[in-house]
């Protein structure tokens, strides 16, 4: 029986999915051009041209939509499409004439074409209340609310450079938001509440104790049972204990919310990769449309768009103008909470007289 189960076959060989034009020109591309927002041509050394139409997606897709994409691909691309690392769908065409009809059908179906060049692409994000237990906020809803607002930057390329927004619903940062131009991050702000009845049944105390990065958790006997206690002053609400032990409830409807970080990047172009930096420590959860978060993001984009030079990413712009100026322009009050107090905090203090007075 067991021998008949197929295991460890790995993913299918990608080669079977490559369009013929890709197979023919594999590794032999010469240059590309962005023809219009969301539409690119890649020209091969052979002269062959591959057209890409990129459509935005909420990432959470029903099979109904996937089948629709398949229909469109059959109609326009010979059945070939791919997804991008930011969850957009790309239709891979050889016939330039098919671009506009495909665009039209996509847009009619509710999927905008764009996300290329110096604009805003899709927001990389995580599960939120749709699937994850430790989320401090919803993911898809916040992303939808932001994308509705920044939509004009998805369908145009009018920013100084690429602007990458990422979202994660807790500081595990599954979206790897930590290197984004703008990072929207769900945060818990209170220590976990402990379910002392479940704890001994569900969790191993030593593993739990050692899961806490700050050493806030100590073994304790509660009502005669082996449990733990949390030293509140030491807890920084990372939720690590909750991931290890469900009896440490970290979610809190009253105090959970969202923080905003800016100026990270991943590419090695011009400047080195950089982490995003905290600028707004807390905005409350305001479902269904999170106006506080949306406004904050919008404002940051506006001042960036107005101030940055061509090709200058958010973080590069801020480094040029200085953080004090950024806070001033973005009209963000300077919170003491943005001053680092973690392990390498001293490395973030200003240690020069170079100041704009």
């Amino acid at each position: 029986m067991v021998t008949q189960r197929i295991t460890d076959i790995g993913p299918p060989d990608y080669r079977q999915f490559l369009p013929p034009i890709v197979k023919a020109n594999y590794g032999k591309w010469k240059y590309h051009e962005i023809l219009q927002p969301g539409v690119m041509v890649h020209v091969a050394e052979s002269g062959d041209k591959l057209f890409t139409v990129r459509a935005g997606s909420p990432r959470l897709l029903s099979i109904v939509t996937i089948r629709k994409f398949a229909d469109l691909a059959d109609k326009y691309t010979g059945g070939h499409l791919r997804w991008t690392s930011r969850n957009n769908v790309e239709f891979l065409l050889t016939d330039e004439a098919n671009i506009e009809p495909l665009k039209k059908e996509l847009q009619e179906y509710g999927f905008p074409v764009g996300g290329t060049g110096n604009g805003i692409s899709n927001i990389v994000h995580t599960q939120g209340w749709v699937h994850c237990h430790s989320s401090a906020t919803d993911a898809s809803g916040v992303v939808k609310a932001i994308m509705d607002e920044v939509y004009p930057h998805f369908t145009s390329m009018d920013l100084p450079a690429k602007l990458r927004i990422a979202f994660a619903c807790c500081l595990n940062m599954c979206g790897a938001v930590h290197c984004s131009d703008i990072a929207v991050l769900g945060i818990h702000r209170t220590a976990p509440t402990i379910n002392h009845d479940d704890l001994p049944k569900m969790c191993e105390v030593p593993t739990l104790v050692s899961s806490c990065p700050t050493g806030a958790i100590r073994p304790a006997t509660v009502d005669g049972k082996a449990s733990v206690e949390v030293e509140k002053e030491q807890c920084m609400y990372c939720g690590n204990c909750y991931t290890v032990c469900p009896a440490m409830q970290i979610n809190n409807a009253e105090t959970d919310g969202i923080s905003i970080w800016v100026g990270g990047k991943v590419s090695n172009a011009r400047s080195k990769p950089m982490f995003s930096k905290l600028v707004i420590p807390f905005i409350p959860n305001e479902p269904p449309r999170w106006p506080g978060v949306v406004d904050a993001v919008k404002k940051i984009i506006e001042v960036y768009a107005a101030g940055a030079r061509k090709h200058e990413r958010m973080g590069e712009w801020i480094e040029r103008i200085g953080w004090p100026k950024f806070f001033e322009l973005a009209e963000i009050p300077f919170s003491p909470l943005v001053i680092d107090d973690f392990k390498h905090a001293g490395e973030t203090y200003n240690r020069t007289t170079q100041i704009r007075h």
């Binding site: 990389v124 237990h133 991943v266 011009r270």
Partner: protein, 396 residues
């Protein structure tokens, strides 16, 4: 569709606006009772601002230690259809290339065994099949493998590798990202399916320093294409860009991190010995410039998200590696890392944190890599140098 009777006014606010709505997507599957209860429970979260999912007991496929994430409603009476609501991580094909036949097959399988909801794709790269019962796992897995698909990673294992589109479309790919990703995934099937590491280990492959899969920020082994020789220049095309409005001095020369390009109003010249292969000039003038011909990759180790010691970017281990088919050097390096980390890494200690704990120089020594200046941003500034070992060697 049977969505009229769903009372989800808050969520329906999220059907407004120009961006495609995930609520609409879930509604599209609302014939499926799991999808309906997903919406109902989510509406409840929107009302009381808290997640209603719990995690708990291990679920999964026989013989695998990962690939399925167990999830349970905390209000099973209220939302019985999502009492169990596990996700599958289905290993995507390299570069997220599909044909319609494969997609339709996947949809059929998921219609049969689950909620009909997916993430295309998860942050690590997998297709995420969102929501199924414990019971469905084994049959769904059988159908998937039958169709040529397998599960990806979860837990303390090799996670599903991912890569940029690379030579499939991009003129800048300095090695074959699609092939490398596929080859490594196949090579390490056992490590991917049977967690045996101190913690997760992620591979990501980008064809050039633009790093379109953000590998330097979120992979334990980041393989980023680069080149050794001179940037290829077509001066006529440079002139064309200048004519068409690119301010070469301001947009390129001034932004070059080492200021190694100069422009005399007609042609550019590059001091390639000082070029750090950042891609910027090439990005701005793709018709005029291309990476050199002697291509390979930089291997960086140890990126991760903040838990526990703070986020890390990956560190250069091999400045330049020729990426020959078979990728033996890469595999050997991975295995050397795993041996040492596997033995001495603490539980839930990512390799990046482990390296910092034992010290880069010690780590290199253990895995047999020569330390070179390219591995550091700068030498130490503190005088706390451990000489003891060296002195003991002298004694011998």
């Amino acid at each position: 569709m049977a969505t009229k009777d769903l009372k989800i006014p808050l969520l329906e606010e999220l059907e407004k606006g120009p961006w495609p709505s995930f609520v609409t997507e879930i509604k599209k599957s609302a014939d499926n009772p799991m999808a309906r209860d997903t919406l109902r429970q989510l509406e409840k979260s929107y009302e009381d601002k808290i997640s209603h999912w719990k995690h708990g007991g291990l679920v999964g496929v026989m013989g695998y230690g990962g690939g399925v994430i167990g999830r349970y409603s905390d209000s099973p009476e209220e939302f019985p259809e999502v009492k169990e609501f596990h996700t599958y991580r289905v290993n995507q094909p390299s570069g997220w290339f599909y044909n319609t036949e494969a997609l339709r097959t996947l949809c059929d399988i998921w219609e049969k065994h689950g909620s009909g909801l997916t993430n295309m794709h998860g942050s690590t790269g997998d297709m995420i099949f969102l929501g199924s019962t414990t019971e469905a796992i084994e049959p769904c897995f059988a159908d998937l493998t039958e169709a040529g698909f397998d599960l990806g990673g979860s837990g303390s294992d090799v996670r599903t590798p991912s890569c940029c589109v690379g030579p499939g479309r991009c003129e800048w790919a300095c090695y074959d990202t699609l092939d490398a990703c596929y080859d490594i995934t196949q090579e390490f099937q056992d490590e991917l399916h049977r967690p045996a590491f101190p913690y997760k280990f992620k591979f990501k492959f980008s064809g050039c320093p633009n790093d379109c899969v953000a590998s330097i920020a979120r992979s334990d082994m980041s393989v980023i294409g680069t080149w050794k020789d001179n940037i290829q220049i077509n001066q006529d095309e440079v002139a064309n860009y200048a004519k068409n409005g690119v301010d070469i001095e301001a947009e390129i020369c001034e932004l070059c991190p080492t200021k190694c390009i100069s422009w005399n109003g007609k042609t550019i010249s590059i001091d390639n010995s000082n070029c750090v292969k950042c891609m910027h000039c090439i990005n701005v003038m793709p018709k005029a410039l291309s990476p050199g011909k002697e291509r390979g990759a930089t291997i960086l180790i140890g990126a991760k998200a903040p838990i526990i010691g703070g986020a890390l970017l990956a560190t250069v281990f091999v400045p330049f590696l020729e990426m020959e088919e078979g990728y033996e050097d890469l595999k050997e390096l991975a295995e050397a890392l795993w041996d040492f980390w596997g033995e001495y890494g603490k539980n839930r200690e990512r390799i990046g944190e482990f390296i910092q704990r034992v010290g880069l120089a010690n780590f290199l020594d253990e895995i047999g890599l020569e330390p070179i200046p390219e591995m550091i941003a700068h030498p130490r500034t503190n005088p706390y140098i451990f000489f003891e070992d060296e002195l003991e060697e002298e004694d011998e």
